[in-house]
Every structure is written in C-alpha cells, then in structure tokens.
C-alpha cells in the first residue's frame, strides 16, 4: 500500500510537470522585455507535439505597400528633376514602406535601442543592398556578364557588411554610444559597401542610379496589374491531320 502511494505521488508529479511544460510552451508569447508587443513569435522551449501544438501564424510582419496611383505620382514628383532620380525614387518608396509600417518600425527601433529614423535609414540601405545584388540587371547595365569571381565577391560583400554592421551596432548600443556615433557607423558602412561594390563589379554611381530607376515601383513600370502565375502565350500551332480548306 505504501508503495502504491509512493508511485501514485510520482505519477502526480510527472503529470503536473508535463502540464507545466505544456502550458509554458503555449504561453511563451509573452511580450519581449523591450517592447510592448513582440516583434517575432517566441520559440517554445519545449518541442511541440504534433496534434497537440499547432504552428501559429507569425504575429505580424511589415507589409510592402501595393503601389497606388497616388504613390506613383508622389514618387514621380520627387524624382523629377532630381540629380539622381533613381536613388530619389527608391528612397521615396522605402520611406513609404516604413511609413506604412510605423508601429512595427517603432517597436523594432525600441527593441534594438536605436531611433525610428535610424530604422528608416537602415531599411532603405537593406533594400538598396538587395537591389545591388540583382545580377542579371547589373550585367545588362554593364553590358557584359559578371565573372564567377565577381559574383562571389558581390554576394560575400552583402553578407560581411550585414554581419559586421549588426555586430558593431550592438556594441555601440551596449556601451550607450551617442546617436551621432551610431549615425557615423551607418554612414561609414554605406560608403564602404558602395565603394567595395563598385570595385568588385565595375558598377558606378550613375549605373547604380539607372539600376534603381528600373525599380518596378516607378511610374510606367509594368506592374499595374498582377502578373500571371505562369507565362501566358498562345498555344503552339500543331499540324492538323485534316487539311483545312484553303480560303478562296
């Protein structure tokens, strides 16, 4: 009887522990310490069990605005007459992207210990770097293909600049560096990336502006309607076993 009681107690402890693990796995979406609302889902500490724990959709993600006529007009107005129309249009669009996700951007700034304006600038830079990696368009502008070595350098540059910048920014934030120091890091990283990018690929400031001017958000770009899922072309003609009547 004593053993039965002992085993019963063990079972209760095991069940209680299992329940505790289960509830902690499902209630881990507590707010991050820095932000009122978490930026990303919190990974459950316990492995989810199929059938019991269903994957939850992401809390929220910033969304890229679908270009409207007003948006295109605003971009065109700002780019018109600018010395660097491509860059100006691109920046206008990236600002519109941040503006349409201001709450998310603010929370990201807070979580990283930087300002909203820094997040705005870094969003522009991140999108710009992604644009510079569009190999086929870069090759088209250069008028020649990039060698394998050039392509590898170009891709490695994005990775090293991203990793290095984030590491240095975290250090600055950790030692409570001033906003001016953080801006110096941002500007230096941008300048170094572009200088090394130009050296690696043969691109120039003017060609980069042309690359950005080719952005599909610009007025006149072929994106007023959603493209078809697959290329649409008329079916290939096939021989008809019965000869069609020849028009008279």
């Amino acid at each position: 009887m004593r053993y039965a009681l002992l085993f019963g107690a063990l079972v209760l402890v095991a069940i209680a522990a299992a329940q505790l693990g289960s509830s902690s796995a499902t209630t881990r979406s507590a707010p991050a310490p820095m932000a009122a609302k978490p930026l990303a889902p919190v990974r459950p500490s316990q492995p989810p069990v199929a059938g019991r724990d269903e994957p939850q959709p992401a809390l929220d993600e910033p969304s890229i605005p679908v270009p409207t006529e007003e948006m295109r007009a605003e971009i065109a107005e700002k780019a018109q007459g600018a010395p660097d129309p491509g860059m100006t249009a691109f920046r206008t669009f990236s600002d519109l992207y941040v503006d349409s996700n201001l709450d998310f951007a603010r929370r990201q700034a807070q979580a990283q210990g930087i300002t909203l304006e820094e997040v705005r600038e870094l969003t522009h830079f991140g999108l710009l770097v992604l644009a510079t990696q569009r190999t086929p368009e870069v090759e088209e502008l250069l008028g020649k293909p990039l060698s394998d070595e050039q392509q590898e350098k170009m891709a490695a540059l994005m990775t090293s600049a991203n990793d290095g910048f984030k590491r240095d920014m975290r250090l600055l934030v950790a030692r409570r560096a001033s906003e001016a120091e953080r801006w110096n890091l941002i500007k230096a990283t941008q300048a170094r990336y572009l200088a090394e990018y130009y050296a690696a690929t043969g691109m120039t400031e003017a060609l980069l502006d042309d690359l950005l001017a080719g952005n599909m958000m610009l007025p006149g770009a072929p994106i007023n309607t959603e493209p078809p899922d697959e290329p649409v072309s008329p079916p290939d003609p096939v021989d008809d076993p019965v000869a069609p009547p020849r028009p008279r």
Binding site: L10, Q46, I64, I114, L122, E226, P227, D229
Partner: protein
C-alpha cells in the same frame, strides 16, 4: 495492488509520450534582419528542436550559410526564429520531405541546388522573385505557409 498497476501504467504512458516528443523532427524558420531595418532573408533548417540535423539551408537567393548540423537550434547565425512545422518521427522521411519541397521550389524559382540567384526570374524584393517568395512556396509545400513581406505577385502554389 490494483493501484500500483494503474500507477505504473500511467507513469509508463507519460514516459512514452516524452520519448515520442524527443524523437520528433521539425523545420524551423529563421529570418535574418538585414542591417537592422525592415528587410529580411528567410531560411528553414531541419531540427529535432534541440540541434540542427543537417547542413542544408532551405532557402534561395543567397550563398550565406545558416544551418550547421550539430549546432543548437537557437544558434542560427543572425537568425531570428519566426516559425516551425512538424515533420514526424523519422529523420530520413523528414529529410526526404524537405528535400522534395526544396527541389520543387528550386524548379519554380530557377534556383537549382539552392542557388544564390535565379536563372529564370530577375530578383526583386518588391514583386515576386526573392527569398521571401521562395520560402513562402517551400513552406506551403511542407504544410504550413509562413508569413513574408514581399507581396509575391502572381504567386500560386499548385
């Protein structure tokens, strides 16, 4: 005596459940926040929740390495965790499922062998040829579509 047997049965059931959970495999999704702004690269890794099980990065449009076999599942370089899907209890079946979906997605986006650039479309984060759309297609194939930023115009999963 009856209570003793009952207790042992319950204890055994709990222990079996715990073992089953340990043997499960997952694809876990991470996003690499570029320069701290609102632009991301996304990748999936095969894990058993504790460690990454293979060196295969399930992503397209980058040559960067994220999934390192044997590393902790929370140690993906620059990776912020944002979702998962369950794959069952067999490692080989889990790997086969991800490889099949990876192959399908590579075909769709012209990124053979998870190439860093597409052979069939021109990269653009604002439209439908980018790593967001790649992971969206891939995760739909696996079962649970993850959310992304890019609108992926014209996106459609067969």
């Amino acid at each position: 005596m009856r209570k003793l047997i009952l207790s042992l049965v319950v204890l055994g059931t709990v222990a079996t459940g715990a073992r089953a959970a340990e043997a499960a495999y997952y694809v876990e999704y991470y996003r690499d926040n570029l320069f701290g702004g609102l632009a991301y690269h996304r990748v999936g890794c095969l894990t058993d929740w504790n460690t990454i099980q293979s060196n295969q990065d399930y992503d397209g449009f980058t040559g960067n390495r994220y999934c390192n076999a044997g590393a902790g599942a929370e140690s993906v370089p620059s990776g912020e965790w944002f979702g998962y899907d369950t794959l069952g209890d067999s490692l080989s079946a889990a790997q086969a499922e991800l490889d099949t979906c990876g192959g399908n997605t590579n075909s769709r986006y012209g990124t053979p062998n998870y190439a860093p650039s597409s052979q069939t479309c021109s990269y653009n984060i604002f439209t439908n040829c980018n790593s967001d759309c790649w992971i969206r297609y891939f995760s739909t194939c696996v079962g649970q579509r993850v959310s992304t930023i890019s609108p992926c115009f014209g996106y459609g999963y067969p």
